[in-house]
Amino acid sequence: MTRISMRSVSKYFDGGDTVANYKLDMEVDDGEFVVFLGPSGCGKTTALRMIAGLEDPSDGEIYFDDDRVDGMPPADRNVAMVFQNYALYPHMTVRENIEYPLKVRGVPPEERDERVARVAELLHIEDQMDSDPGEISGGQRQRTSLARAIVREPSVFLLDEPLSNLDAKLRLEMRSELKRIQNELGITTVYVTHNQEEAMSMGDKIVVLNDGTIRQVAEPEELYERPRTTWVAKFIGSPPMNLFEGENRGGTVNLADGNTLPTPAESSSSTVSVGVRPEDIDVSTDAPDTDWTLPGTVKTVEPLGEYVLVNVEVGGSVVNVKVPQTEATAGDAVHLTFDPADAYLYDENGELVA
């Protein structure tokens, strides 16, 4: 099996005018499921395409185990890839699509049949084998494209937003299905998505990218619990973390709107941000007897069934709060309170202090 290493990999387009990726350094361990997570245009797909061999790095090296692969054509890397739009060959049946990689590699027909039958069973598409890709549903197309990818037992499995064209229910179903197949086969996998829920639920490790470079590499829990920068903090979570920026007065933070908060930790920066996740804040109408509080006015209340999302205006900016239930209505003056243990402190460079 295969370990992938990217060493200082950069990719420039348009003669250097566009920087798609800058100094990517990372490892994917043998059999690991790694997710590239980032907003659109962050370079995650380009990074994946470089691993696939569809693009060559402008700079840096890519290794599969100890073999340097950048510059090698995709066919020689034994990678398999699933595309966002499935990229099924429209003039071939489902069976012919799955068979194609074996055929072009000269696998004998009997072995081909056997292997195609095996993946068809694994992905539950035995009944669609003789249909054209145009005749089957989105979920079945996705399964076909997965089958085509795994039929030749690749050493690296690459997925580019494979679930984004499916409806919500199917997406959940395919998510657990993908995870099951990856567990079963133990293939080293790189998965690209902009959907953090997918990333958190499937990834052994998440690589957060923005502006073409890596912002944080962490396991899902750690990523949620310790976002390394304010950018990651604002990217992870739905709704994301609330950040209060202010002046550091050694022990207290003077917010721009005149409110003050105690600092959850020491920092030498003059400007700091205190961060609290929406689910860690409470809304109350009575003034509480703690320093960890901010006054505000309820703007909107969104009852979402599972929880209630309260948007509170605090000194000109909106704070999102997730509570199980609330009696507050729009226009109420409320107090937001939180536990100091749930608060984060970021320094002036936006990096996590505590």
Partner: protein, 321 residues
């Protein structure tokens, strides 16, 4: 309209109204409720309004303008000369005969039997070669970057825009010098060269619509460039290739000017060359000319009718991009 439908629904046995704060919920029926009203009323509803009737009238008028000469040609070909000499629309006497066809088939100074076979010998290879070569040229133009790409493509379009008379002299000399004058091979080569321009342009446009992901998927699957061309690009282009083949076939088959210039001997004559010979010296033998024309025409028409489903697909895709 909508009002009556709603009223129908609420009394329909298929929909089960459930009380819920006075709101009525509907269960949709399997098929749409059948419209009420007598046959006369429905007929009246189907009569087009004034504006639309004008559109129909214009469309039908244009269609007739195209059809009448064809009908006339066909009429002339199946009736004796004395019945059509006053115009085919005279039906005082009406006899159907295939004598004209028989005479055309064995016409003395160029039997259609021979001429049509000659035409096929020239047309089939010209069409096949242009289609295959055209795809092989169009694919790089659609997909790869190479030096002078823009200029080469421009050159192709210029060739396409030039009138055939312009190249006749040059080609005549070339064929003379290479010993290909008055041979099928010579005429085939001229047709291939002449067809390449528009075929490449047409197929390039079509191939621009080939999703790049398909080729990337094939590259990752391990296919070589040649395998991708053969197993992905060619089958994907099938509808466009059919369009190209049908249009090129019609063009080569009906071509009059090139055979006129490049074919000389009587036994090598092509069908369109024979037609003018049929009109005779003193009196024009309309029946013979008509039968010869129908025979010549029928081949591309049959081909088009057989392949029209694919032809339309290819045209739509190539023009839409």
């Amino acid at each position: 309209m909508t009002d009556t439908h709603n009223a129908d629904d609420s009394t329909d046995a298929d929909s089960k109204p459930k009380p819920d704060g006075g709101r009525v919920y509907h269960e949709p029926p399997e098929t749409a409720p059948i419209a009420e009203g007598s046959a006369v009323e429905r007929l009246r509803a189907a009569v087009p309004s004034g504006r639309r009737a004008v559109h129909y009238a214009v469309a039908i008028g244009v269609a007739l303008l195209w059809l009448v000469p064809l009908v006339g040609l066909f009429m002339a070909s199946v009736r004796p000369l004395d019945q059509i000499i006053q115009g085919w629309w005279n039906f005082d006497t009406f006899t159907v005969t295939f004598e004209n066809y028989a005479r055309a088939w064995t016409f003395q100074s160029g039997p259609m039997r021979q001429a049509m076979w000659n035409t096929a010998i020239v047309t089939v290879p010209s069409v096949l070669a242009v289609t295959l070569l055209g795809t092989m040229v169009a694919y790089p133009f659609a997909r790869f970057d190479f030096p002078l790409k823009k200029w080469l493509f421009f050159l192709l379009i210029v060739v396409m825009a030039a009138p055939p008379e312009l190249v006749a002299m040059g080609n005549y000399n070339t064929l003379r010098n290479t010993g290909l004058f008055d041979t099928y091979m010579g005429l085939i080569l001229v047709h291939i060269g002449w067809g390449m321009g528009w075929v490449v342009m047409f197929l390039r446009n079509f191939l621009l619509g080939l999703p790049e992901e398909l080729e990337e998927a094939a590259r990752i699957d391990g296919a070589s460039r040649y395998q991708i061309f053969k197993s992905i690009v060619l089958p994907y282009s099938a509808p466009a290739l059919v369009s190209v083949a049908v249009i090129q076939f019609t063009w080569v088959w009906n071509s009059f000017f090139f055979p006129l210039v490049f074919m000389r001997s009587r036994e090598n004559q092509l069908a369109p060359q024979v037609l003018p010979l049929m009109k005779g010296r003193l009196q024009i033998d309309w029946g013979l000319v008509a039968a010869g024309s129908v025979l010549t025409m029928i081949v591309p028409i049959l081909l088009f009718v057989t392949l029209q489903r694919y032809y339309k697909q290819g045209m739509v895709a190539a023009v839409a991009d």
